[in-house]
Subunit: 455 residues, 2 copies
């Protein structure tokens, strides 16, 4: 019997797709060129189906690659050894919202914008916003974060409980509905960020946060990255709980001005957002304004009403589209590292200088409060250019690791960051491999990702 | 050769103590009656010494029980199988403070009050305050929290990196100095809360927070626990980032009034603290006042200056001393569970009613925003009373688990909570045991704690 007919017998024909079109959709994510067709795409609707599939896959040594919104930038969802692409987007029900308990329970295919729609009338929200209409299952699997992590933390900080299916098909419930616990080992944290290599997440219970009464936004251009970063660090040290603080490079502002017909100063710009009550937010804005001007900021534009805030932040929101539009016909290569905050100015400046020296157009955005930044390189479809671009990324990542940072702040390891894991984790990589071997001795779960092969 | 002479040869005489007095000090923690003498107490001064000790202990099957401030309430530090009590309090150096990076690096024996002294002039603090002058090593090992967790999270939320020594004596460095990461499995989280059963923490890198510009405090008496909890939940849903919110029962207020000569209303009382800028905190206070009075609060006393805040909160700070003073000659039994917030009123009310029915004096404090509360029972030194008290705790814990809570919000499992682990964790306890076996096959690390023996 073939894999597809076995799975059809196991799960029903509606759950199993072998069409070329659907397999091609599941052959790759975003921003990672390599593509491999899965043999079969499976769309489970319930945990029990995932369990049946994994028990079968373990018994028969069939690779299984879980996928949600498929917005991965690092190749996480490429089924490099074929087998099953396990598409969880049909498990998309919000199972429970408990406003009094400040929690919600969702299936893994629920996207965070849809969860937030459901929560709004309770005055609550799920504050992690990685973009790309990500699913909660994917966000937990990569410990996704985004622009508000400086205030609210990453996805992992909001996970109360998980239901997971082990590679052998056992269903485990991890965590509880209590907002904190000192009971047992923290297995939720082990599965968070594991990129589907230890099992499949089939249910997520998340902590929610109250919607702020007032929001203010600001944009502040600075002459250089050092001053911009100093500004943000001082603001945080002053006890201001900044909700978002994004650094955008002059190239991106220029591209966004061209794209949107605006004329914002083409400088290293910090975008800020403050959440709180109206007088508190007004005082935070004022403190930020004084600090920014004392550090020589070129301007300090601020707003509290929604439309004006949107206008101020538009450059940040459109920068990737704008930069893509400015570089027609070129490939883009995006990468992500995080460094100790004080290292951010050097890291940013060096990265942009290297791109310029190598002749690449590049743009950059940083989640300054986290020391995390993304670099986006534009290059022709050409082996020499690709090798040069990879050299830029290699050196950027090596420098991040040399100053105590990490090879990925939020995009995850997937395939593209495998080469840096030995350097970053050293001897503890052995323990990670032992844990992988313990949970998945048949090696079926998202093989080839997250951990490099042992030498 | 004896264990003591072997260890003296390995580590030097100054590091090894076999005196009765020191062994007795290390035979138990707080609030747990059982005591077992260790054969030897070892006081390492460096990671390399811990590594040598553990390599020896693994090779010879010698049990090792790590201990910091020894303020455990659940028997974590009782060396139930003898062997070595590993006292880390001499590893007490603050190794590095990096204000620009909002982080500090400490040895495990540094206490959080001492760390905060070092940080104050930088305008920063480490916001987790479990009380009892806990050490950072102990706090990480139990994922300690305390009154400010509702705003700032638990110890685990502040761990950036750890140095740990495995039971075999290998030194591993986990995590990085980046404030977030999506690289590798989250091994820091695995060692956080593991209660010394997976290895020994020899260095901790923590995230720091800016000291708030303004602080306000309030105390609000309510007629019952339900109204008090509703008040706090509505406050959080309104987006108010409450810094602390503590529930104290009427019995404790009465005891504290007697102890301190005050005359606060002897009702179910909520103690609040707000952190922010002055106008923001004033607005939060006003919102809290309106909400409290609309829910029928008996009063709303508030303060912003330090002395007056201290006066308002004194009852909370002295309640355990006051309750002990009110119950001379009696044993006390303290326990800790956490439930979904909406379950807190029933949990609290039922617990107090059961104590009254069984004839025990009892007092109670709740970290309301976390759904976490502590019950302190007073009982005569008498087997029947102890059995009755254990019955109260059993039923309290079973009820917490039945509504989706946890057997311990912050005290940890130690010895006393072992009996609830099967019920709380179900099949995932098997995975926890497998991880323990993977890391510590010789079973030397704090044996008998955290995980019950497999049946």
């Amino acid at each position: 019997m073939s894999l597809a007919s076995d799975l059809t017998a196991l799960l029903g024909a509606e759950q199993v797709d072998v069409s070329d079109a659907v397999r091609a959709q599941h052959s790759r994510g975003e921003a990672y060129a390599g593509a491999v067709l899965p043999d079969v795409v499976v769309f489970p609707r319930a945990t029990a189906e995932v369990a049946r599939l994994l028990a079968y896959a373990s018994a028969h040594g069939v690779p299984v690659t879980p996928v949600g919104a498929n917005s991965s930038l690092e190749g996480h969802t490429v089924p490099v050894r074929g087998g099953v692409s396990l598409d969880l987007t049909r498990m998309d029900r919000v199972l429970e919202v408990r406003p009094q308990d400040l929690l919600a329970v969702v299936q893994p295919g629920v996207t965070y914008p849809r969860l937030n729609e459901r929560l709004r009338h309770h005055g609550l929200f799920f504050p992690v916003d990685p973009g790309a209409h990500a699913t909660l299952g994917g966000m937990v699997s990569t410990n996704a974060s985004g622009t508000a992590a400086v205030r609210y933390g990453t996805t992992g900080d909001h996970v109360l409980a998980l239901e997971v299916v082990t590679p052998q098909g056992e269903v485990l419930r991890l965590g509880s509905r209590a907002r904190k616990s000192a009971s047992g080992y923290d297995l939720c944290a082990l599965f968070t960020g594991a990129e589907g290599t230890l099992g499949v997440i089939t249910e997520v219970t998340v902590k929610l946060v109250g919607l702020p009464e007032a929001v203010a936004a600001a944009r502040v251009p600075f002459a250089d990255a050092l001053t911009a970063t100093t500004f943000v660090t001082r603001l945080i040290q002053a006890g201001v709980p900044v909700a978002r603080c994004e650094l955008v490079d002059p190239y991106s502002i220029r591209a966004a001005n061209a794209y949107s017909g605006t004329s914002f100063p083409e400088e290293m710009t910090v975008f800020l957002e403050f959440h709180g009550n109206a007088p508190g937010v007004a005082a935070e804005l004022e403190l930020a304004r004084e600090l920014a001007l004392s550090l020589g900021a070129g301007a300090f534009e601020a707003a509290t009403d929604a439309a004006e805030r949107e206008r101020l932040w538009r450059t940040r929101h459109t920068m990737f589209f704008a930069a893509n539009a400015a570089n027609p016909g070129l490939e883009s290569l995006v990468t992500d590292v995080a460094v100790p905050i004080s290292e951010l100015p050097t890291a940013v400046t060096t990265a942009l200088a290297e791109c310029a020296a190598a002749g690449f157009e590049a743009n950059l955005v940083g989640h300054v409060g986290d020391g995390n930044f993304h670099l986006n390189l534009y290059l022709p479809e050409d082996p020499a250019a690709r090798a040069a671009a990879k050299g830029v990324v290699d050196r950027l990542t090596e420098r991040a690791l040399a100053v105590g940072g990490t090879a990925t702040g939020e995009h995850g390891v997937g395939l593209r960051k495998l080469g840096y894991m030995e350097r970053e984790h050293g001897a503890s990589l052995g323990l990670m491999r032992a844990i992988k071997q313990l949970l998945d001795p048949a090696g079926i779960m998202n093989p080839g990702k997250k951990l490099p092969e042992a030498p």
